[in-house]
């Protein structure tokens, strides 16, 4: 039982390991937190791209709306943190339901164009409604309340590592839930939709409804990431809902590798950390990232995850070859 249990949850185990290792190797708590937040966003994108076969250029909408929802709730309503997170998830899911409802009516290029159009529309909507969103300036001075339930203080969030702890807990819980979802009947049926829509429909599945549900789950996770991001930086900037955010999330997901959950964590970690490091050396670092993306698209379509597993297999095979070699030499001796 233990072996299969481990196998089933090896991605979750790696996620937990990441959460533990990040504070050991990074000196900045907010950088570590950012990794986990974008890992959440990439996971949401992976559910669509890797598990349902939908390439959405609208993930920034859900992240941005999650930021705004959290910002507005914290600034004007002063509701507790424990309520802010589900609120952002609901906002993300509802926005995804709207975008998805229209977009999944089309396939391929037209689907992608529709998500792109929605991304632009929501951006200009946020830009125009400056009374609500703060327009160009965004929402400023968003407070970060401690985690309290019924007046009981569970976790302080003031310091960067304290906030990291909160985000880490949220990250692990979401990862676990997502792992269950992709291993569930729903998740496996989504894979069928990804593989062959016509056959899935002929087998009796409501393909549109399945896609819409995947969209809503993805929107909820991305909205949550947006809320956590707003509390991390204390602002909900217009750039969160910009097309560029959608693009970054997609790039992280693709660089990490699609169809495997932990790959998204790799992709987000790589993007955020390498970006942070390179931007201090060279302001045009995004150009290097572009080259990497070309390399991934051309030569390593399974992303960093694929490279990692490939290396691991090679090491194992070598290990086995060494074993047999020693055995053989032992036999000759």
């Amino acid at each position: 039982m233990n072996a299969s249990f481990l196998c089933q949850y090896r991605h979750l185990a790696m996620a937990v390991a990441t959460v533990v290792v990040l504070p050991l190797v990074l000196t900045s708590g907010s950088l570590a937190t950012e990794v986990l937040i974008f890992a959440l966003a990439a996971l949401g994108c992976n559910l669509l791209l890797g598990y349902t076969g939908l390439m959405s250029f609208g993930q920034g909408i859900f992240l941005g709306l999650g930021s705004y929802a959290a910002g507005l709730a914290l600034l004007h309503l002063r509701i507790p943190l424990i309520a802010v997170l589900p609120l952002a998830m609901i906002v993300g899911a509802l926005a995804a339901a709207l975008v998805g409802w229209f977009s999944i009516r089309q396939r391929g290029t037209y689907f992608v164009m529709l998500t792109l159009a929605f991304a632009q529309m929501f951006y200009f909507l946020a830009y125009t409604l400056r009374d609500i969103t703060g327009g160009d300036n965004g929402l400023l001075d968003i407070p970060r309340p401690p985690l309290e339930i019924l007046g009981q203080r569970l976790l302080p969030t003031a310091g960067p590592w304290e906030y990291y702890t909160l985000v880490a807990v949220v990250f692990v819980v979401v990862f676990w839930v997502l792992q269950r979802i992709v291993d569930s009947i729903l998740g496996r049926t989504l894979l069928a939709v990804r593989d062959n829509e016509a056959r899935a429909a002929a087998a009796g599945y409501d393909v549109r409804m399945l896609k819409l549900i995947a969209f809503m789950i993805s929107g909820a996770i991305t909205g949550l990431a947006g809320a956590l991001h707003a509390m991390l930086t204390g602002i909900a900037p217009l750039s969160n809902i910009e097309y560029g955010t959608s693009e970054s999330i997609l790039i992280m997901t693709v660089i990490g590798g699609t169809g495997k959950l932990f790959a998204s964590v790799l992709g987000a970690g790589f993007y955020v950390l390498v970006g942070d490091w390179l931007s201090t050396l060279w302001p045009r670092w995004l150009m290097l990232l572009g080259m990497l993306l070309i390399a991934v698209s051309l030569f390593m379509q399974k992303g960093l995850w694929g490279v990692g597993t490939g290396l691991l297999q090679r090491v194992r095979r070598q290990g086995r070859a060494d074993d047999t070699a020693t055995q053989r030499s032992a036999a000759y001796d």
Partner: protein, 255 residues
């Protein structure tokens, strides 16, 4: 006389200004093999698409066991007992053989598909159906291989299996032997014939040996319409069928 399990009335399917199927009516009796034949472009596959809901009807009526299903989209028709295979193999290539069959078996109870927590292994009935079908189709040895890695013959068998897995009342097979080697064709013929005891089969097939040997009824289509319908012998001897286009192909050169 037994009631037909499937009744199609005046089925019309137009693509723009082109009428692919023009007022076809067929009655399919339960536990029979009902073949639809005709030259390329006669509208056989379009008729299948229209009956199974792969494309919407232009007009006409479809009854399964007396219930009108004409307005249902394809995926809902599966629940009323229709299932199909495709002329061009249509599988889930990146999933295993067993997973392909399991998904097809689970499709009848497709509400289950929305269960975001339960593991598929706990849905016993579909797993058992998949395992027993893999055995029946002689795919047990390759059950854990990806469907996309199978040989053509194996893929064609799996394609038929996908339709069987839904345990339908009526199973539509669109050229199940297309592209198969001679050895495999005999097995497929036996398989289709054996289906009669549990299902009702509607078959499109170009191989006349198979059609003449195992059909109970044959509908001959031409230019989107029914030309002749009857038992194999009657169709074989029908002058209209002969003179129209089948000629020696159907009689095998014999007079």
């Amino acid at each position: 006389m037994t009631e037909p399990i499937l009744q199609a009335r005046n089925i019309v399917k137009r693509y723009g200004r082109f009428t692919a199927v023009n007022g076809v009516s067929i009655d399919v009796l339960p536990h029979t093999v009902h073949s639809v034949i005709g030259p390329n472009g006669a509208g056989k596959t379009t008729l299948f698409h229209a009956l199974t809901g792969t494309v919407p009807l232009t007009s006409g009526q479809i009854l399964v066991d007396g219930v009108d299903i004409s307005a249902l989209p394809g995926f809902k028709r599966v629940r009323t007992g229709l299932a199909r295979s495709f002329q061009v193999t249509s599988l889930f290539p990146n999933l295993t053989v067993l997973e392909n069959l399991r998904l097809a078996a689970q499709g009848v109870d497709a509400v289950q598909a929305f269960h975001p927590w339960r593991r598929p292994e706990s849905f016993k009935a579909a797993c058992e159906t998949a395992a027993s079908l893999a055995e029946r189709l002689n795919l047990t040895l390759v059950r854990s291989r990806l469907a996309g890695e199978l040989s053509h013959g194996q893929q064609r068998r799996l394609e038929v299996g996908m339709a069987l897995a839904a345990r339908p009342k009526v199973i539509f097979l669109d050229e199940p032997t297309s592209g198969m080697g001679v050895d495999d064709i005999g097995d497929m013929k036996q398989l289709i014939f054996s289906l009669r005891s549990d299902y009702t089969v509607v078959l499109i097939e170009h191989n006349m040996d198979i059609v003449m040997d195992i059909s109970d009824t044959i509908t001959v289509m031409q230019l989107g319409q029914v030309l002749v319908e009857g038992a194999p012998d009657a169709v074989r001897c029908d002058d209209r069928v002969r003179s129209a286009y089948l000629g020696s192909m159907i009689t095998g050169g014999r007079k």
